[in-house]
């Protein structure tokens, strides 16, 4: 396994979808424009075994409103996955394949217990509660990167402040108890935090939803599962960043999440 994927073999990415997930297109395109071979995979196809998770190198849970976000954001999708595919998912995570969820995808990962997983037993340790402002917030936020061993952040530098769009009404990260929160911090799993433009952690509106410790994104201990509330896949090119007309031409902030995952897979699998 150590020798990596030869350049002539395409990296296969599954972008998981069901009714209501709706960021699959930009996620698909972000992977495609990163040189991989992505596929939009309907949950149904996995449930009826016409597709298998193990055939993919990277798994991505896009944002949106899976199942309408009725009940609770991500709840319906997580419940369906839990009842049929949990074991396969855990296996994928354990062999170290990159798994990422943004926005609704983050909510699903948390509901599945794949993240934060401080206890190591995939119990439900956290939730994404309704924003303190009690409204949907669509805007760009500043984020501070604390990369740790998170494979999706390889192409960032530590302490860097980046800007990404958010669009959610249930993004307030809360933990089951203070031990979980301590575990997250001591393991350096809180890799992305809401901040001001200088990288200082501040309250609303900088922290758009009231997350504990300003947590915007979270990696598991092993560094291969990332859940993030903002949307890297929507700013793959710099021209979709909200303030691009004030900046110089360069790569999009979001693209680095994808290039990081791709270089990781090329080296490790």
């Amino acid at each position: 396994m150590e020798e990596g994927i030869p350049m002539n073999r395409q990296i296969k990415v599954a972008v998981l979808t069901m009714e209501g997930t709706n960021n699959e297109v930009e996620a698909y395109l972000s992977f495609k424009h990163s040189g991989t071979s992505p596929e939009i995979v309907h949950l149904k196809k996995l449930e009826n075994k016409s597709k298998r998770l193990e055939d993919y190198d990277i798994l991505f849970f896009p944002g949106g409103f899976s199942g309408g976000d009725y009940v609770r954001a991500g709840a319906i999708m997580a419940a369906r996955l839990r009842s049929t595919l949990l074991k396969d998912l855990e296996k994928l995570v354990e062999i170290g394949k990159p798994v990422m969820g943004s926005c609704n995808g983050f909510q699903v990962l948390v509901e599945l217990g794949l993240i934060p997983n401080v206890g190591g037993e995939y119990g439900i340790e956290a939730a994404l509660a309704p924003n303190i402002s009690n409204r949907f917030e669509a805007r760009t936020v500043y984020l501070k990167i604390n990369k740790g061993n998170c494979l999706f952040l390889r192409d960032f530098s530590d302490g860097e402040v980046v800007k990404l769009p958010i669009a959610h009404s249930e993004g307030r990260f809360v933990t089951r108890d203070s031990d979980i929160l301590k575990g997250i911090i001591s393991n350096g799993m809180n890799v992305i935090s809401y901040s001001d433009e200088m990288g200082r952690l501040q309250g609303y509106p900088w922290n758009p939803n009231g997350s504990e410790q300003n947590i915007a994104g979270l990696c598991n201990k092993e560094g291969n599962v990332l859940g993030i509330m903002p949307h890297p896949e929507r700013v793959f090119y710099y021209v979709t960043e909200s303030d691009w007309t004030r900046t110089e031409k360069r790569e999009g902030m979001g693209s680095r999440f994808f290039s990081s995952a791709v270089s990781f897979v090329r080296e490790k699998f």
């Binding site: 709840a75 419940a79 509901e111 439900i124 956290a126 939730a127 307030r172 809360v174």
Partner: protein, 75 residues
């Protein structure tokens, strides 16, 4: 036929942001005697057969996240 009423609320320790904004709105409407509002979701579920015990399963498997929610099945 069994009819269940399941109520899912936020735990007391979790800030209920909708509750807070309803409280604010009611006070703005002049109801100064309102001191607290908590919100929840209610599900009326009809089963063709089976019993009330399933309700607990529904809570665990779908309707509530134990980190933030409480789930009450009405008698």
């Amino acid at each position: 036929m069994v009819e269940l009423r399941i109520t899912v609320t936020f735990k007391k320790t979790v800030e209920d942001s909708e509750g807070s904004s309803v409280l604010k709105a009611l006070r703005l409407l002049g109801y100064e005697n309102v001191t607290d509002v908590r919100t929840g979701k209610v599900y009326f579920i009809t089963l063709s057969k089976g019993n009330r015990k399933t309700a607990k399963d529904f809570c665990e498997k779908l309707l509530a996240n134990p980190v933030i929610n409480e789930c009450v099945v009405d008698e």
